[in-house]
């Protein structure tokens, strides 16, 4: 067991690394999206800044920093300034309980590859997702403009509605793993069936829950096909109409950070986390789980972007009735069936 | 090693703030929020006693208090919306006639 000071120091180092990796991942997810959507639409995407446009996020970041930060006079200033910060804070907080690998021994200190392993990890992520609604609602209201208010109300109503389906779809996974801790859930998926099919939750009957989770997560992060609240052709720009420069960039980053959190969670809960063939010298064996985890997260982000380039968007009433009248009963049915099967097996 | 009375005093202070707000505020929604504050103070007291006597039933009761508070908030806010539609005001002192 580590002493208090060592534990604090190690945690601070892990937090710094996690935030750095997350922010870089956010920047390059934007690059990936522009490239992939461009290719889907038969054009190149960013190609000029650096090879393959790889320095484009850097140029975008510089642009946001130097852009004029306009604060319209009619806004409610305290909440106007606080809302993007709230959105970004809550988007970055859920990375604290996401494990990316097994325990490692660095310089004689045994530590898990996770900032903290609480035994209610999944509930914390759901809680932070619930709190993320505030950033959107307050941004829409404090901007004191009709487009922003409507966009903010619609976006927050959508997020609150799909949170329920999101939570219920995860209960099936919880029943099978028996614990809220994310590390325990991943470890319950270790091993294989018949020697080669991995014992992932998606193969253990949670395929319906997987698709419910995917759809609810697309709606939670306000992405196509559920991105009506921020579609340019519908409501100017929804709740971030009145925002410019750095504050707009914070909303942008919050959205992509939420996407990455959702992708990480899906790979942990349904696709077995960081399991994969391990080979080579011990140093490679310590790094390989990170690689397998990163591969799954990348696959999810690619799926997100692919769906964005392909599907049209839902109308708002279609969106709400889909969430309440289809996803919620389906999630409850999935929960009941899973519970029955687990109870009958035991 | 925090004495139990500290937790009870904190719960008591929250409850007292809730009662004060209930009495001095004039906006219906703020009065409702003071009710929620009172319920939160009571929840803290429940959990503190559950920790002292190692009785998990305290936590279960907090769960029920939260559910009832959520149901009450939903219905109460619906009533507030209905009152606002007819009286056009959220000030309790101005909602003082049985018939408009």
């Amino acid at each position: 067991m580590l002493s208090v000071e060592t534990f604090l120091l190690v945690s601070i180092v892990k937090i710094a690394i996690a935030i750095g990796v997350l922010l870089t991942a956010v920047a390059y997810t934007v690059w990936l999206e522009r490239k992939v959507v461009g290719h889907i639409q038969n054009r190149w995407g960013p190609t000029r800044v650096g090879p393959f446009g790889l320095l484009q996020p850097l140029a975008d970041g510089l642009k946001f920093i130097f852009k004029e930060d306009l604060t319209p006079p009619h806004v409610y200033k305290p909440l106007y300034i606080a809302a993007p910060m709230l959105a970004l804070t809550f988007a970055l907080t859920s990375i604290a309980v996401i494990p990316v690998g097994n325990w490692v021994n660095v310089a004689g200190i045994n530590t898990p590859l996770q900032i903290t392993d609480v035994n209610i990890g999944l509930l914390i992520i759901l809680g932070v997702t619930s709190l993320g609604v505030y950033g959107v609602a307050l941004a829409g209201w404090s901007s004191n403009s009709k487009y922003s208010l409507l966009g903010g109300l619609r976006a927050s109503a959508q997020m609150v509605s799909y949170e329920i389906a999101l939570g219920l779809s995860l209960v099936g996974v919880l029943i099978m793993a028996g614990s809220f801790s994310l590390r325990d859930i991943v470890q319950a998926q270790s091993g294989t069936f018949w020697g080669f099919i991995p014992r992932w939750n998606i193969f253990q009957g949670q395929i319906v829950a997987f698709f419910i989770y995917l759809m609810a997560a697309y709606a939670e992060t306000n992405r196509v096909p559920f991105d009506l609240p921020e579609a340019e052709t519908e409501l100017v720009a929804g709740y971030h109409t009145e925002y410019s420069a750095m504050k707009f960039a914070m909303f942008f980053m919050a959205e992509y950070a939420n996407m990455i959190t959702v992708a990480c969670l899906a790979s942990l809960l349904f696709l077995g986390g960081w399991s994969g063939p391990l080979f080579g010298p011990p140093i490679l064996q310590a790094v390989l789980p990170l690689f397998w985890f990163g591969l799954r997260v990348f696959a999810f982000l690619f799926l997100y972007i692919w769906v964005r380039g392909t599907l049209p968007r839902f109308r708002y009433d279609q969106l709400m009735s889909f969430g309440w009248k289809f996803l919620l009963p389906l999630a409850i049915a999935n929960l009941v069936v899973t519970a029955l099967i687990v109870a009958l097996k035991a | 090693m925090v004495p139990l009375s500290y937790y009870l005093i904190l719960g008591g202070i929250l409850f007292a703030c809730g009662v004060t707000g209930f009495l001095i505020k004039r906006n219906i929604i703020t009065i409702f929020m003071c009710i929620e504050l009172m319920l939160n103070g009571v929840n803290l007291t429940f959990v503190a006693f559950a920790a002292q006597w190692q009785a998990l039933a305290g936590q279960v009761f907090v769960f029920f208090v939260m559910v009832v508070a959520a149901a009450e908030a939903a219905v109460g806010l619906a009533i507030i919306i209905a009152v606002y539609r007819t009286r056009e005001t959220l000030n309790v002192d101005l909602v003082n006639l049985l018939k408009l």
């Binding site: 619930s130 809220f180 | 009870l8 929250l14 004060t20 559910v67």
Partner: protein, 169 residues
């Protein structure tokens, strides 16, 4: 020692949030300070070892009930509240009365014979609460689910827009 520091820190945040709720004139500021109070209370629950209760405090109370409050404040465009005669009387009488009451209660509590509570004193993972809910307290659980259903129906009926008379063509 660390327990006392953490308890005091989040206790101060709770009380500051509660007093801010009383002092602010605009309801949206009061709502946000109540969210802060609920978050700090969730940490206090964690210090007592009630992790499940802390998590549902954040998910249900701060993340759903308070969002509902914020929605209603936004929809009804509640403004800064005015001072009327009744509120002045209540201020002059209420605040001293409550201060006296709280001092009395605090005095009684600190002189009572109570033990100290350890950090994380409550035993068990959330599994044990689930067991209790579905075995010993099954009837209240089912009744609260019916209560929530009634509340949903009531809220929908009360807040529904009055139907406009349809034109017969």
């Amino acid at each position: 020692m660390l327990h006392l520091i953490l308890f005091s820190l989040f206790g101060v945040v709770c009380v500051a949030g509660a007093i801010n709720l009383l002092v602010q004139t605009h309801p949206i500021n009061s709502a946000l300070s109540l969210v802060v109070v609920m978050g700090a209370l969730a940490v206090e629950f964690l210090l007592l070892g009630a992790e499940f209760v802390a998590a549902i405090q954040v998910i249900v109370y701060a993340g759903a009930v308070m969002v509902l409050f914020v929605f209603v404040i936004m929809l009804l465009n509640a403004g800064i509240e005015e001072r009327t005669n009744g509120s002045r009387v209540a201020l002059r009488l209420g605040i001293p009365g409550l201060l006296i009451g709280s001092v009395l209660i605090a005095w009684v509590l600190t002189h009572a014979n109570t033990h100290s509570v350890n950090v994380g004193a409550l035993p068990g993972p959330p599994k044990t609460i689930g067991w209790l809910l579905f075995h010993d307290y099954l009837l209240p659980f089912e009744i609260t689910s019916v209560l929530v259903l009634i509340a949903i129906m009531g809220a929908v009926v009360l807040a529904a827009r009055p139907e406009s008379p349809r034109k017969e063509s």
